[in-house]
């Protein structure tokens, strides 16, 4: 850590050099993602270089120890921040080894992190895995430089984990320091073997995936100089992403997509300016963090490891797509379900897992009907995917037809067609083609069509298309309340562990929210956004609390049903009612006139002229005692206010009419002055309930 630039003197920093060589926009955008991670520091005096993943020996007046650097970044309150995780020596925890065999130079990784001062850094040491360690003989020349690490443990030496391969572990760190840290923390935090295995599945899946890479590496990578690990990293970047996928038909990469500008990458910490600095208050800070992590988890965009409550659909999709890929055949699947029932996310998960299992034996493309401006553009997208070139849609159809019809062996292509109803054209040719191609014997095209309505094929599509759609249909029913509750709880589980239940959402509150949503739509997005908003409301309330009240809570804050209710009300409260409550007298009078006319004629649409006459009569016949009185208190005459010195229409009549139309309270049909038709756009009851309470309208509301 160097809190000022001055303390940084004697050091240099630079970013990963190799990235500058390949400066296409495409590469740059990815490069930038890991900008912070590739920061390397160099000491001028002896050329010592440190970066993320380096193990260093640290010494100051009090202690001398080893640490693993897991974060180097330009900080907000300090110039440069170096964070590291401490190691424990085998000698430090001899009492807790419980009969484990340890080597002399063995280190134990702990999840305890600290900021490291640059001046305290002594030197770099090498840490290796067991295999390597065994291969090297330890003698006096290297005893201070070579260490073995294969276990993690807690800060006090408890909870020693199963052994792991250092190299692999180390790679994870380089790839994703944040995740690495949490992994270590989780590993050491829970002692049971069962949770250990589940927690470490990220590691094991990584191991598995690596094997697949090795299997397919000859075809995928010409560059044999790359080490396996680099390949693995690249692989992770690449799997399934269309932009980096190799296509069967080789074309110059640069032509494949249009250049697009990239966003300048700003360190998110830089943006955090005041917000974080202000609350130095140590008590408030962790709570604010908790709230923000809870909000992040509740946001629909949050990444999930598993999808609760969609196992059945997942299973079905997975098996049918897998079979099709393995057999290299074409297929259509129709998936339906109301919005927010997890259709798209389930399909993506299926593809992701298939990609992990099979490597890149298939391609994947997403076409969203609403993300295209015309249905025909779907051809262009598919064409670009397959041939890597651009083409006009008209030309593309022909070429695609030829391509799918040819007997040449093709790589299976999975196409997800979201919002299917938007790709519909009048003669339905686009859909026809997309469902026809899979039926060709060697097309290897798998189309997963997604739409909201179950009977879309029967309702909108002609028989020739719906017959091609096939029999595989999958229905995603709306979530019921227990499923919704499970989804919410699942998302909050992880933060519950981290914060040792300091921020709790009352289970009653969760149930209320899920029942509320389940009764209407079963839309998971809706349920989550209600909870998210409730957490925000609760946070606001928490921040307002005094120190004493905060202390009384004992560090535990619960989101109550009341917060959920408030959140629900924000999105369901009747806007019309509160608008009418604030409406001026003339506007009310107008609406009363419309109502009276409807009652008189029994028809919902009445001419403007008749309403004008109705109002005219109403004002003449009724006294409006209340209004009169309050106006007389202001020395104003009733008729003067009503007509504004005119005789035939209310004052500002046109203004009111226009406002009502703009606000969507009434609909006006036609432009022919008095003969245009006026119709209420809201329920009559909504008006009457408000106006019956208004005693100024007592005479006309009955």
């Amino acid at each position: 850590m160097a809190s000022t630039a001055r303390q940084f003197k004697g050091w240099q920093y630079y970013f990963d050099v190799e990235s500058q060589n390949q400066d296409t926009p495409r590469r740059r955008s990815r490069r930038n993602d890991t900008l912070n991670d590739s920061l390397t520091l160099k000491r001028n005096s002896d050329g010592l270089e440190i970066e993320i993943g380096t193990v260093i020996e640290v010494q100051n007046s009090k202690f001398r120890d080893f640490a693993l650097i897991h974060d180097i970044s330009f900080g907000t309150d300090v110039y440069l921040e170096v964070r590291a995780m401490w190691f424990l020596r085998a000698t430090d925890l001899s009492s807790r080894l419980e009969g484990r065999q340890v080597e002399k130079n063995e280190l134990f990784l702990t999840p305890v992190t600290d900021r490291i001062k640059l001046k305290d850094i002594l030197r770099k040491v090498k840490v290796v895995s067991k295999l390597e360690y065994d291969a090297i003989e330890i003698n006096d020349s290297n005893t201070n430089e070579l260490f073995l690490c294969r276990y993690c443990c807690d800060h006090d030496g408890s909870n020693i984990t199963d052994s792991f391969e250092w190299d692999q572990f180390h790679n994870l760190l380089k790839k994703n320091p944040e995740q690495f840290y949490h992994n270590v923390k989780n590993l050491t935090g829970s002692a049971t073997i069962k949770s250990l295995t589940s927690q470490s599945n990220l590691l094991s899946s990584g191991r598995k995936a690596r094997k697949y890479v090795e299997l397919s590496s000859e075809s995928e990578f010409e560059d044999e100089d790359e080490s396996d690990d680099e390949k693995y990293n690249r692989k992770l970047n690449k799997t399934g992403t269309p932009r980096s996928k190799r296509v069967l038909y080789s074309t110059p990469t640069s032509e494949r997509y249009y250049n697009i500008p990239s966003f300048p990458q700003v360190s998110s910490k830089k943006l955090n300016l005041e917000g974080m600095k202000d609350d130095e208050d140590e008590q408030a800070k962790p709570m604010a963090k908790l709230f923000s992590s809870a909000k992040k988890r509740l946001h629909t965009g949050a990444h999930l490891n598993t999808l609760p409550c969609r196992d059945e659909q997942f299973e079905q999709l997975y098996t049918s797509v897998e079979v099709a890929i393995e057999n290299n055949t074409g297929m259509c699947i129709y998936v339906s379900g109301t919005p927010g029932t997890g259709k798209t996310v389930t399909i993506r998960e299926v593809i992701k897992q298939l990609a992990e299992k099979h490597g890149s034996v298939f391609d994947y493309l997403e076409i969203n009907g609403l993300k295209l401006l015309t249905p025909q553009a779907a051809y262009e997208v598919l064409f670009t995917k397959i041939f890597g070139q651009r083409s006009k849609s008209g030309q593309a159809v022909g070429l695609l037809e030829e391509y799918f019809n040819s007997s040449k062996k093709k790589k299976p292509l999975v196409v997800l067609m979201d919002e299917l109803d938007q790709i519909l054209t009048k003669n339905q040719s686009v859909l026809y083609n997309f469902f026809n191609w899979p039926s060709y014997s060697s097309s290897s095209l798998i189309v997963i069509a997604v739409a909201n309505t179950m009977d879309l094929p029967e309702r909108l599509l002609t028989n020739k298309i719906s017959s091609r759609l096939g029999m595989i249909r999958l229905q995603f029913p709306g979530y019921n309340f227990s499923q919704l509750a499970e989804i919410i709880k699942h998302r909050l589980e992880s933060i519950g562990k981290l914060n040792s239940d300091k921020l709790v959402i009352n289970s009653g509150a969760i149930e209320f929210a899920s029942r509320k949503v389940a009764s209407v739509s079963g839309d998971a997005r809706r349920a989550l956004s209600i909870c998210l908003r409730a957490v925000e409301i609760a946070e606001k309330e928490f921040v307002k609390k005094t120190e004493q009240e905060k202390a009384e809570l004992g560090g535990i804050f619960t989101v109550q049903i009341a917060h959920i209710i408030k959140s629900v009300n924000e999105s369901t409260s009747s806007t019309v009612t509160s608008y009418l409550n604030c409406s001026p007298f003339h506007l009310r009078l107008f609406l009363v006139g419309v109502l009276a006319r409807i009652r008189r004629t029994g028809v919902s649409e009445n001419t403007l002229g008749s309403i004008i006459d109705e109002l005219q009569n109403m004002v003449k016949v009724n006294h409006f005692q209340k209004v009169r009185e309050s106006l007389e208190r202001e020395n104003l005459q009733f008729t003067r206010v009503i007509f504004g010195g005119l005789k035939t229409r209310m004052q500002s009549f046109d203004f009111i009419l226009q406002e009502l139309i703009e606000n969507g309270i009434i609909l006006k049909n036609g432009n022919l002055g008095r003969s245009s038709l006026i119709k209420l756009n809201i329920e009559e009851d909504e008006i009457t309930t408000v106006f019956k309470k208004d005693d100024t309208l007592k005479e006309v509301m009955y």
Binding site: N176, K371, L373, T374, E536, T575, L631, E662, N663, N671
Partner: protein
């Protein structure tokens, strides 16, 4: 029609800061505006010279002219130039400890106050009053987007002139102060971006501008000219434009493997959609895409919609609705007369200027003005009556502000404080929009009124929906002939003492047809085939047609006989009642 035009102008003004670099055709309108400003500044100066003379009548006349001028110029006496004046003038102000109505107030001080208050009254944006909670909510939402890089969506809803747009603009200005260049704002307006394609194009265009600004260039052109390798988001082809927007903002779509790689963009974007209902009325694909980005969390983007349509939420398609947080912030008009009064008061009060060291005299004058305004608004006065009237009719704050403009601009050395001068209030009556009565009484000749009455009689007697000229002319000549006979009989019996001078001759058809056309141009007769918006077009077409087809064409009469009898005075009773 006229109000619509003014609306458009206002919207252009609203958008002008963000569209400085825009090629869109708003520029002529803007230059037009500044031209007006210049013109008016000239007038303003000449006024000042004139006022040295003590001619009060001319003064009032000039004020009138000024009001008219103001209406077109909208914001004239606002910034820069006037502030300079303030600084120059302040040393000359004489010393006064308490305000004394007898002693003259220097013109400069009055001008200072007038400048301030008038700019307040004419400003397009609303002063926020009683919207603290709303402000906090919008602010915290944006802050959230900036700090935690989280996406949210919100809809501001409420009738016109309740401060929706002004509030958003203030929040943005505040954020811009706190995080200069820390985020991107994109403003779209349904009035300009009438369909999804235009919206996509404009979105890309503004994104380009903002990105170049972030990279340190003033305009896109600068950036293209510079050596910096730069490609725009906006492409020639609209499909590609949409694609490139989605590719930089919606990285999740590209199937990422693990969470840490989804980092496509971490610059917060705040999208403001004014006249939100327009985006709702179509295929909603633009909204779908925007809201989808906010939901899948691939880039930190918050969407704030502004609308005055209360049922906007119901108009959203199901899948769009599901992606929208459905959070609504409602703006309402004042609920009580007291609240309305205090809103009006806020708009009318002056605050003692801070710069240029105001002396005691200025201060006391400003205070005297404030207390006078307070008195006018809270106790019974013409201004108070106007306020109550507006409260009962529309509760529209802009209407009140308009009424105040002449009152404030009439302040002068002679009357440093607003009094009960009738002239000021009379001017306000001119500001009333044209209504049926004005059109008939002030805009029609005697023959035209005769024809109008005949037409309404035809409608009434024969229970017709529509009338044509031939029918009406027949009725007209019938009536006139009857009156002629009556008159002859009267003449023979005794000398008429009333001395009715109206000659009862049946005018020829071609002459009456001219009158008929006047009625059409005044929208008293509406073409049943063409909507009134296109009437001008149909008229030019009509003049080319031959007479016979013109005289049989049917029109809808937009006034009834009853209404005419209310409007017209007793002289016409004979025509109506016969």
């Amino acid at each position: 029609m006229k109000t619509n035009l003014v609306d458009v102008l206002e919207y252009e003004k609203d958008n002008s800061p963000s569209r400085n670099n825009d090629k869109v055709s708003t520029t002529p309108a803007l230059t037009d505006n500044s031209q007006l400003t210049k013109d008016f500044a000239g007038e303003f100066n000449s006024l000042r010279v004139d006022r040295m003379g003590d001619d009060r009548i001319s003064d009032v006349f000039k004020e009138k002219a000024k009001v008219v001028g103001n209406k077109s110029g909208v914001t004239i006496v606002t910034n820069g130039a006037n502030e300079k004046k303030k600084e120059n003038d302040s040393p000359r102000i004489s010393q006064l400890t308490a305000f004394n109505p007898e002693e003259p107030v220097p013109t400069t001080t009055i001008k200072l106050l007038k400048t301030q208050v008038l700019s307040k009254l004419r400003r397009n944006s609303q002063l926020l009053y009683g919207l603290d909670d709303h402000y906090r909510q919008v602010y915290s939402l944006c802050k959230h987007c900036l700090n935690d890089l989280q996406s949210r969506s919100l809809l501001l809803m409420g009738p016109r002139n309740t401060g929706k747009t002004s509030l958003v603009n203030q929040v943005l200005a505040q954020l811009e102060k706190e995080h200069p260049k820390g985020f991107i704002t994109i403003k779209l307006n349904g009035i300009f971006q009438t369909d999804d394609k235009k919206a996509v194009r404009e979105f890309a265009h503004q994104l380009d501008i903002k990105l170049s600004q972030l990279a340190g260039y003033d305009t896109i052109l600068d950036r293209i000219v510079s050596k910096d390798k730069f490609v725009t988001v906006e492409k020639k082809n609209i499909t590609h434009t949409l694609e490139s927007i989605l590719r930089i903002l919606d990285s999740k779509r590209l199937q990422q493997n693990s969470e840490d790689e989804i980092k496509g963009n971490n610059i917060p974007i705040i999208v403001i959609l004014e006249t939100f209902e327009v985006f709702v009325n179509q295929r909603q694909s633009f909204l779908y895409n925007l809201l989808d980005i906010t939901q899948n969390g691939s880039s930190p983007m918050s969407v704030i919609g502004i609308t005055n349509r209360l049922n906007t939420r119901e108009l959203l398609e199901k899948r769009v609705k599901s992606r929208f947080s459905q959070r609504i912030l409602q703006f309402n008009k004042a609920t009580s007369l007291e609240e309305f009064t205090s809103i009006c008061l806020v708009n009318l009060l002056a605050s003692v200027p801070k710069e240029g060291q105001p002396d005691a005299a200025t201060k006391s004058y400003f205070e005297a003005y404030n207390s006078r305004i307070q008195e006018l608004l809270t106790t019974s006065s013409p201004l108070r009556q106007k306020l109550v009237e507006i409260y009962y009719t529309t509760r529209d704050i802009v209407q009140f502000k308009l009424h105040c403009v002449p009152i404030v601009s009439q302040l002068s050395e002679l009357s440093p404080l607003p009094g009960d001068l009738d002239s000021a209030y009379n001017i306000t009556s001119l500001l009333r929009p044209m209504c049926l009565e004005d059109i008939i009484l002030k805009g029609l000749s005697e023959l035209e009124i005769q024809l109008l009455i005949s037409a309404s009689r035809v409608v009434k007697d024969q229970c017709l929906e529509n009338v044509n000229f031939n029918l009406v002319y027949e009725e007209y000549s019938k009536l006139v002939k009857k009156f002629q006979q009556e008159r002859i009989s009267q003449m023979s019996n005794f000398q008429s003492s009333t001395g009715v001078v109206a000659s009862f001759n049946v005018y020829e058809k071609f002459l009456m047809e001219k009158c008929w056309e006047t009625l059409i141009t005044k929208y008293l007769l509406l073409d049943i085939n063409v909507s009134s918006r296109n009437t001008n077009k149909s008229q030019s077409f009509m003049f080319n047609n031959n007479i016979s087809s013109r005289s049989v064409k049917f029109y809808y009469l937009n006034v009834t006989l009853e209404e005419l009898s209310e409007i017209l005075d007793r002289d016409w009773a004979k025509w109506i009642q016969y």
